[in-house]
């Protein structure tokens, strides 16, 4: 198992900038990307970015990509390319199919998920024909592979992606036969629209694509567009046949958050952000402690907002790992947040600003609802009640996850790392002093569970009601026996789990059959 302080999944603008910030603060970073080259989608963005000078304004995406990669190289960031993260597992373990090396497992102290977004599609007759492709695909073909996807292209959608890709297809030598949108006005920036309108490209507003025509052998050979009424329904008799060899669909993007899902990050649906997005706090940390979500993964915006979100997470990770002082990190975060706010101003940004605020609000609501009686809230955790200097250490070797440390000398008292404890309970029967308990404070809304060894012959049955007792053997309440674990390897030390009201989680440590003295 490889140990890393920070693993970043996805080397687009968000992942790269997170790596740079964390690495600047001497965090040990591993950046992983499934592509052969870092940079995400920056290398197909050959246009100049908007923003202020603090946001790389006026710089082309492709040059920003080069600069970010150079910075990572200068800082010595370890990058695995052509390597696919296939899963994020409990305890921040990551499985990676590393190029040429097979499956690797990494345990990270912190994880940043920056997996970006993918294109949405719209369905119409013929939409699966070769020659119908995402606008982003046409852009990749043109600007990255330098192959013109078609001579005559019909663009569906007049958002910024549709407008920009149309312009870039013209630059590369294609003819844009028109842009189609059901809306009555262009959805993207007017300045982008103006650039293609002055090339004589027709805009078919209040229109939709009816079908793509073609054959099994050739793919797309034409398209039919049609006017729509105010309910976006096609108006019969207004069909127009257009000679095209490519139909490009610019219908927006949707966040790629499968890994965040797998890591159990809570999500919500916000259409302005592209669909289902993981919740996060002001530092981009998800509902899973130590796992961050940045960039399009947590709401489709632009490359420059992704950059800033990545920075925010990188700085917070550095602070949490004590590589930056609180005042240093707060200072940097303040500057980043100011720039982020600027990028979400105006009529084009305010919806995103609102949506992002909602995301943070929902995060806070979720965390509040989850707040445990004490600190820990992620399933059962070991509670070690061993407070004297006894020369003894079986608990240390019993824990396969390295959550219990005694070290030298053997009389040290055991220390529990709650983040590493997965609540397996295998230390309970190992402790000769029977001093380890397993407590799940938030078993459900009202109850906690307490597990402890019980080496008496009146062992109850699962499902039976018993009396829960405190550390002095005093009656607390009636409790249900949820589970009896009795393995040969436990050497006659069964582990009993009882259900008690939350207020007794820190008190219940024993049981007695009902009515016994």
């Amino acid at each position: 198992m490889i140990e890393k302080e920070l693993v970043i999944i996805g080397a687009g603008p968000a992942g790269l900038s997170a790596a740079i910030e964390a690495s600047k603060a001497n965090v040990d970073v591993l950046l992983i990307d499934e592509n052969q080259k870092a940079g995400g989608q920056l290398f197909k963005q050959i246009h100049k970015f908007f923003g202020s000078s603090a946001h790389y304004s006026g710089v082309r995406g492709i040059d920003i990509g080069k600069e970010l990669i150079q910075k990572c190289e200068d800082l010595g960031v370890e990058i695995w390319l052509d390597s696919v993260v296939i899963g994020v597992f409990p305890n921040k373990q990551i499985a990676v199919e590393k190029k040429g090396k097979g499956l690797k497992t990494i345990r990270a102290k912190k994880i940043i998920i920056a997996t970006g977004a993918s294109e949405k599609v719209i369905n119409f007759e013929g939409w699966t024909l070769p020659g119908v492709m995402g606008a982003g695909a046409a852009q990749t073909m043109t600007n990255v592979h330098r192959i013109l996807p078609g001579k005559k292209v019909l663009m569906i959608g007049t958002g910024n992606v549709g407008l920009i890709v149309s312009y870039q297809l013209i630059q590369a030598g294609a003819e844009i036969v028109g842009l189609v949108d059901t809306a009555s006005k262009v959805s993207g920036y007017e300045v982008h629209s103006a650039k293609i309108e002055r090339e004589g490209v027709p805009l078919y507003l209040d229109h939709t694509i009816f079908k793509a025509q073609g054959t099994k052998e050739k793919g797309v050979t034409g398209a039919v567009i049609v006017e729509v009424n105010k309910h976006f329904q096609p108006i019969k008799g207004t069909e127009k046949e257009i000679d095209v060899d490519v139909v490009a669909i610019a219908a927006g993007l949707k966040p790629l958050s499968e890994l965040a899902n797998m890591a159990n990050c809570k999500k919500t649906y916000i259409s302005k952000l592209g669909g289902w997005v993981p919740l996060h706090n002001e530092n981009m940390e998800s509902t899973e402690k130590g796992i961050y979500v940045v960039g399009d993964t947590t709401g489709v915006e632009e490359a420059n907002t992704a950059l800033e979100e990545g920075r925010l997470a990188g700085v917070d990770v550095a602070a949490k790992l004590k590589k930056l002082s609180n005042s240093e990190s707060e200072n940097i975060k303040k500057q980043i947040n100011k720039r982020l706010k600027d990028l979400r101003l105006g009529p084009f940004g305010e919806d995103r600003l609102k949506a992002k605020k909602k995301l943070i609000k929902e995060y806070n609501k979720y965390i509040k609802a989850q707040r445990p009686v004490n600190d820990y809230n992620t399933g059962p955790k070991a509670v070690i009640e061993c407070n004297q200097e006894i020369p003894c250490n079986p608990c240390e070797s019993a824990c396969k996850f390295g959550a219990i440390t005694i070290g030298e000398p053997i009389t040290n008292q055991p220390k529990l790392d709650e983040e590493k404890c997965i609540g397996c309970g295998l230390c309970l029967h190992k402790c000769p002093g029977l001093a380890i308990f397993l407590v799940d404070k938030n078993y459900d809304n009202k109850n906690s569970t307490v597990s402890f060894p019980y080496e008496f012959s009146d062992l109850p049955q699962e499902g039976e009601m018993v009396e829960a007792l405190n550390r002095k053997g005093e009656y607390l309440c009636e409790a249900k026996v949820l589970k009896i674990k009795k393995l040969e390897s436990f050497d006659k030390t069964p582990i009993v789990t009882i259900l008690v009201p939350k207020k007794y989680a820190d008190q219940a440590r024993n049981l007695s059959p009902i009515g016994a003295d």
Partner: protein, 108 residues
């Protein structure tokens, strides 16, 4: 057919790369070293990468970034290779994929 963008107002002149021969459905075609298989085929006028298992419908490049799997083909005998993110190698044998298995046969 030449759809390679040799001159570009922003990206400049295209770098000439070493030519390599690959085999597509039994025929020799020319590709450029290191370029993606799907790009090499597209440059040779080939934009159908596979036919679907159920309705035998053609599929071609759709996302171009390895997400959608529409460009899957049989490469050196291995089916379901995402050709938009797999680079060509000299002598590579590429076949149109029919359904989910080895190509060259019908969809049964």
């Amino acid at each position: 057919m030449n759809n390679r963008i040799n001159n570009h107002p922003i990206l400049g002149k295209r770098e000439e790369k070493e030519k390599v021969e690959i085999i597509f459905d039994g025929n020799k075609i020319t590709a450029e070293k290191g370029e993606m298989i799907a790009a090499a085929l597209y440059a040779n006028g080939i934009r159908i990468n596979r036919y679907t298992i159920k309705y035998n419908e053609p599929r071609g490049i759709f996302c171009a970034i390895g997400q959608c799997t529409d460009c899957s083909m049989v490469v050196n005998g291995i089916p379901n290779v995402r050709t938009c993110i797999t680079p060509v190698e000299k002598g590579m044998v590429i076949e149109t994929q029919y359904g989910l298995k080895r190509s060259g046969k019908t969809n049964d």
